[in-house]
Symmetry: C2
Subunit: 407 residues, 2 copies
């Protein structure tokens, strides 16, 4: 049993800020085809190399005419020659040369041989039903700003602007090291008292969704040398390291001791639970986030402590979890003074379209429900304003942030 | 110029429903590793093969004791023998054999040699600080239901439940055929009056995000034989075909004629604009959606006419775009009777947290702004209740559906 009296406890916001403040890194970039850039983050401002349309273009299917022919009112079109006085034109296609005005086909009768036209209506202005050159895009227009994620529409804009390659931020590599003598890989026989390692697949999937490249390490035993070797290797290979062990006082958990000896320990625990045993350190310049084992806490401490690091690396705006005000359907029976208690909750709309919040029942198999069904966190305890059932109180949306829209 | 008098126009909802009603297909499945299943859709209900914990487990770092020793009040622990009367226990790990109760380490003083303990507090009940076998998961528990997308948490549940492989719905193949003599590939020299093909990258990215596998065809010229060949090949290779041409009356656009001759034409156009020239057909049993060329209309007709087909194939719940009520900042000057006009809008919160809606300016380069910035659609014209500025009126959220949360 080790002495933990020197352990540093921080609020999660302070803990995250301190890691972000001390972390120095070089943001790497790479140039890739636009067709493979969905979800990547632009590493620089990207300007259009094209002007679109690049000439006067019809925005209707119809016929192209000279507006001057209408100066004296309705012209006699029986003498018109196709190609000279009129020509077919099509939506999105450059107008035939020298024609300046389009008439929608709905206003036109075309002869059987496609050589003569009569008109039901006349164009009202020069340029009718056409699009000026440059109306959609001009050389030098900003297509995508540095730090913007590349959505489907942005990819299209890049193509329109003449770009087939795009310079994006490299995906940061996030190592995940599961540790613990009690863990066995999923699918292996499970001896009594042992547990299935099931956080890796969840957290690596999250890292992927957040724009990083996960690097999963094999399960490491609670052994000083093996842990130190894995941490060192991970800190050298990865941009961010997540070790699933945290700062438990467990008799064989050496993670914090190793990090204190080989790196710079920033905090050992958070002022909340679940997920209290969440540590932060810098090792070889790489942030190392220790996350506690139980999936209920591991899942959201990753949202809170790892996603901001990935956002910082990518240079995207660092979203803080949004809060919404909701009518609380319950108040906690016990109000702890020492820590904050984080409960998974549901925020939804009542019959009057008001947001109401409740917690998921924890009496039976909370993992089955809590991991996936909750859409908010409800926090009480130290530093949180007390509330009673029926009060309006802020709750924190859970990533991915959604609230049910009003009816 | 062809006769379009027989063309069938439908509302977009009717058009989509008719395609869905007539489309018959066999949903294919495949078994893949859980580690590669992020975002895929479960093809069957999946039950737990594990019970977790599989024995009584400590949920604290501390010591394991026999609760019977506390029946007569505080026991004399000076005679306790480690391994017999007490033993260390760790969070998430099976309790040492025959011990039934845990005491958090914070309540315990441990001697230097780790062999003796004294207690500050006593456990209040048998089973204190432990988790019963099966509290997290039991054999037969439902982990994932058929038709549910596999989130990070669901992947974790699958691992917990003993699954390393999972049976998922095959990604439907969605062919995309860009057509038009005016199109050149992005990055190629752009002759005057020609346009860059920029829809493929956008729509293929959307198909990917919606869970499909895009199959991009090269640009096809407006030539009957080439179009027929591409449509036939696509209908045989893909589960869904999207052709970027629609039902324009353009003098060289044969798509609808070919589909009418070789397949079953369901509609030629929608009662809305932009995106009016959007057709639907069945060819070799495969739905073929024709989408008009201009990106402004192509982008949202794909949301409306293609996403529901992919959802149907995957067997996920078919989301209809949610509506929200907002205060309208404008009313249209002209109210068309013939069609609905779809405008890209912004719905946001005002200083009083009320949702307000406005349209993006269309006077300059609407593509740059409209494609990516809009978060709603505002529709007016035929069949829509008139409104004036300041009225509360429903607007339709744009995929991906988000509204700004209240402050």
């Amino acid at each position: 049993m080790r002495d933990h009296s020197g352990y540093v406890e921080k609020t999660r916001h302070q803990a995250m800020q301190d890691v972000l403040d001390i972390w120095k890194f070089e943001r790497m970039t790479e140039t890739i085809p636009v067709t493979e850039a969905l979800g990547r983050v632009a590493a620089e401002d990207i300007l259009s190399k094209n002007t679109l349309p690049n000439k006067l273009t019809s925005n209707m299917d119809g016929i192209a005419v000279h507006f001057d022919a209408f100066k004296g009112g309705a012209p006699d079109t029986s003498t018109w020659v196709r190609g000279v006085d009129w020509q077919f034109c099509n939506t999105g296609i450059g107008m035939p040369e020298n024609f300046d005005t389009a008439i929608p086909i709905e206003w036109v009768h075309v002869s059987e041989d496609d050589q003569h036209v009569t008109l039901d209506r006349l164009p009202e202005r020069r340029g009718n039903a056409t699009t000026q050159a440059g109306a959609n895009l001009r050389v030098g227009d900003m297509l995508v700003r540095k730090g913007e994620p590349l959505t489907p529409a942005k990819l299209s804009l890049l193509n329109m602007g003449g770009h087939t390659d795009v310079c994006v931020v490299k995906r940061p590599i996030v190592a995940f090291i599961p540790t613990g003598n009690e863990l066995v890989d999923a699918g292996e026989p499970l001896p009594a008292g042992k547990n299935v390692e099931s956080n890796a697949v969840m957290l690596c999937a999250k890292f992927t969704l957040w724009g990083a490249e996960p690097l999963r390490f094999p399960i490491v035993k609670d052994d000083w040398d093996q842990l130190e070797k894995a941490l060192t290797e991970a800190s050298e290979k990865a941009d961010i390291v997540v070790i699933n062990a945290g700062s438990s006082k467990g008799s064989d958990d050496f993670t914090c001791e190793i990090l204190a000896e080989t790196g710079q320990m920033l905090h050992h625990m958070l002022s909340q639970g679940p997920g209290r045993h969440c540590s932060g350190a810098i090792l070889n310049g790489t942030p190392v986030i220790g996350i506690s084992g139980p999936p209920i806490g591991a899942e959201f401490t990753a949202d809170w402590m790892v996603k901001p690091l990935i956002d910082r690396y990518l240079g995207v705006s660092e979203e803080y979890p949004p809060m919404v005000y909701a009518r609380m359907e319950f108040a906690p029976e016990f109000w702890p003074e020492a820590v904050q208690v984080v409960r998974r909750g549901i925020v939804e709309r009542d019959a009057h379209d008001r947001l109401v919040a409740r917690i998921l029942p924890t009496d039976e198999r909370p993992m089955l429900r809590g991991l996936d069904e909750a859409n908010c966190f409800i926090t009480y305890g130290r530093g949180v304003q007390r509330w009673k059932a029926g009060d309006i109180h802020p709750v924190e949306l859970r990533w991915p942030y959604t609230i049910p829209p009003a009816r």
